[in-house]
């Protein structure tokens, strides 16, 4: 009988721990540090708001060999090889993250993406750069803004308009 009561109590405690959204309640019951992720304690999911997309604008092929153009997160531009950046509407990508104040988060961006031509073909952004700190954290208002740039490789035969998605994912740590 004593064993039976003990088992019932354990099951009940486990049930409360797993179903509780509150860390405080959880720790009163278990008396041990939480192993649950912060996200499981939070009721506010993190959201991503895209302010502007990355736009290389016009890239002029000046030689058959092609080349590359880089836009840094601060907006500065540089070009290598037979391609020049000539547009006045060049823009870095800018994103605002919103969620639980003071929460540390992880932001994942791809290291490479493909841009597909409206008339066929593709080119590649071989490097994505951001101005995120090494340990991104939402501020007191639950907000974090960052910008991203990249380096696009253009071969000598590319021509026309190209576009690609930049998948960004965010999670609480």
């Amino acid at each position: 009988m004593r064993l039976r009561v003990c088992l019932s109590g354990w099951v009940m405690a486990a049930g409360i721990v797993l179903s509780s959204p509150s860390q405080a309640v959880q720790c009163r019951l278990c008396g041990a540090p939480s192993n649950l992720a912060d996200a499981e304690r939070s009721g506010t999911p993190v959201r991503i708001e895209v302010q502007t997309s990355l736009n290389f604008d016009r890239l002029i092929l000046t030689a058959q060999g092609g080349g590359s153009v880089r836009i840094a997160p601060d907006g500065s531009r540089s070009a290598k090889g037979g391609v020049a950046s000539a547009g006045s509407r060049t823009m870095v990508g800018s994103v605002v993250l919103r969620g639980e104040p003071h929460r540390t988060i992880r932001v994942d961006l791809p290291s490479q993406i493909e841009l597909w031509g409206f008339s066929g073909g593709h080119i590649a952004i071989t490097r994505i750069e951001t101005d995120l700190p090494s340990a991104p954290r939402l501020d007191a208002n639950g907000r974090l803004a960052f910008r991203f740039g990249g380096e696009v490789q253009v071969d000598g035969n590319a021509e026309g308009d190209y576009r690609g998605d930049v998948p960004i994912t965010v999670e609480y740590l």
Binding site: A39, V50, S53, L54, F56, D108, R163
Partner: protein, 196 residues
């Protein structure tokens, strides 16, 4: 005891039996609750799992790759022959439209074939090109000068990549004064093109 159970004792055994059965049921129920709670935690990706853009525009990257423009002269602009009869004090204008139509001002007689200048521009198909031109000075063969004011077309939409490109015309005007020295006036037009 004679092996017969009194009423009170019988009741205890029944209760005991019921309690044992009830406890096991509770255990199963609790286990089910625990499993449900665990499943609920696992099935909450909106909070726990990495999230992407769920509303609004998705982040994209865009680039427009174009060939450099090349601009080539096809023909020169020509006002034809202008005879100064009785030019007003304020001057009289002669103009040639982009369609090579000439307009001759008061006090002047125009003859000969007039034509606009024509250029060929090549670049990237479907791109829009802007044409720019600035005033230039034409120098007379016997001295003197005339100011040439160009008239450029609107934007040009390229219909090919590279050859054959698109031709466009440039007209313009000059103002002849009573004091203008006769002679042949000529000069270089300053025309540039750029992608819009």
């Amino acid at each position: 005891m004679d092996g017969r159970l009194g009423t009170a004792e019988l009741d205890r055994r029944r209760i005991g039996t019921k309690w044992g059965y009830f406890s096991m049921t509770n255990f199963l129920r609790m286990a089910a609750v625990a499993a449900t709670a665990a499943a609920a935690v696992t099935a909450a990706p909106a909070v726990a799992a990495p999230v992407g853009v769920t509303s609004g525009p998705k982040p994209t990257a865009n680039a427009r790759i174009i060939k450099p423009l090349t601009l080539t002269r096809v023909r020169d602009l020509d006002f034809g022959t202008i005879v100064m009869d009785s030019v007003p004090v304020g001057g009289s204008a002669v103009s040639v439209s982009t369609a090579s139509a000439r307009s001759c001002g008061a006090g002047l007689t125009c003859s000969g074939t007039a034509q606009s200048a024509q250029y060929n521009v090549r670049g990237t198909n479907n791109q829009v090109v802007q044409v720019f031109a600035t005033n230039v000075s034409l120098t007379g063969s016997n001295g003197g000068s005339l100011t040439f004011t160009p008239a450029v077309p609107g934007n040009v939409t390229l219909t090919s990549s590279g050859a054959p490109g698109n031709n466009f015309d440039v007209g313009g005007s000059i103002t002849v004064l009573p004091t203008t020295i006769d002679g042949v006036y000529s000069g270089d037009m300053e025309v540039t093109v750029d992608y819009l």
